[in-house]
Amino acid sequence: MDGVKLTEVMKKMKLKNLTKEVDVKKIVITQADINRPALQLTGYFEHFDRHRIQIIGYVEYGYMEHMSAASKRKHFEKLLSFDIPCVIFSRSLVPDPLFLKIATKHRIPVLSSDMVTSEVMAEIIRWLNVKLAPCIRIHGVLVDVYGEGVLITGESGIGKSEAALELLRRGHRLVSDDVVEIRKVSDDTLIGMAPELTKYFIELRGIGVIDVKTLFGVSAVRDTANIDLVVRLEEWDKDKDYDRFGLEERYTEYLGNKVVCHDIPIRPGRNLAIICESAAVNHRQKKMGYNAAQELYARVQENLRATPKTGKRKRKT
């Protein structure tokens, strides 16, 4: 798994380095969780999460102040002899000089934050969760349509980029063409973005590469979008049954998360942009609590109940 550089965390969280002699450039954080080493300061090291960022708040600090000189030496030495990524003192608490000395000896950076402990913890975890989220790259186009992130997938040359171009000419925003990086930030949220290298570019067969941002402006692009809906384009297959009612949602899976998926058959004369637009706005309406297919179904059922039966039904024998 990729990690996040400690220097990035320090910049983001505005952390001050109290151990200037320790080189922080090579340290990489691989876990989004944090640990408060209260029990470790008492000498209990079983199940110690040494790969996590260690945060010392008011409670641990208070305990440290009451430790005897001998136990300070013993327990600081033990804690800092693990290869922990860093120790953060919250609330601008000033660490014991002995702690700094031992940390410097073991090349463990000691950092300081002026935030309250719970805030530092929450913010670090939230931010690292996004940064360390499992990530895949897929072939497709991501467009923000009426605020819904619509991922258009399908074989090369089926018209994904053309559909995207028409969508953004109709006022929607491009996130990425051809390659989409998907990050799983939680069990129900996937975020899509473009690789830095191909951001804002679209490739159109016969024309080549165009830069959407300079051509159509900032209002035509977006950096990231949630993936709310997948539209899978494919050649019309007369043997396949395409959804005609929409009563049951179909799903596809990315990184273990389920996303609503529509298989859209391509035939000359079908306007893909309008289909994508309608799919997006219909999805939004469903999220707001109205389902057109259910409504039609309810009406038909109602109609069946209301019609009086006339005579006996003929039955085939």
């Binding site: 072939h139 051809d178 191909t198």
Partner: protein, 85 residues
């Protein structure tokens, strides 16, 4: 499905222009074509996808093809990527 491991030839610089050539060549086949490098799986017919991989001469890659003309596609593409002079 066809699958072949190749080493990228010394004669290739794999700048944008050469990548475009490779994509164009891939596009001329009907089969679904992919390039595997480390953990990444890239669609060989996607120009943006191919631009995001950093290929250099000497790198090990795997080509996969699936479709009617898979054998020919792998043969022609490994010839392209394997060029040594």
């Amino acid at each position: 499905m066809e699958r072949k491991n190749i080493r990228i030839g010394e004669a290739l610089t794999l700048d944008g222009r050469q990548i475009a050539q490779a994509v164009q060549l891939a596009d001329s086949f009907e089969s679904a074509l992919h390039l595997l490098q480390d953990n990444a799986r890239i669609n060989l017919k996607s120009i943006m996808g191919m631009m995001t991989v950093q290929l250099k001469a000497g790198d090990e890659i795997t080509l996969t093809a699936e479709g009617k003309d898979e054998k020919e596609a792998v043969a022609r593409l490994s010839e392209f990527f394997g060029k040594t002079s």
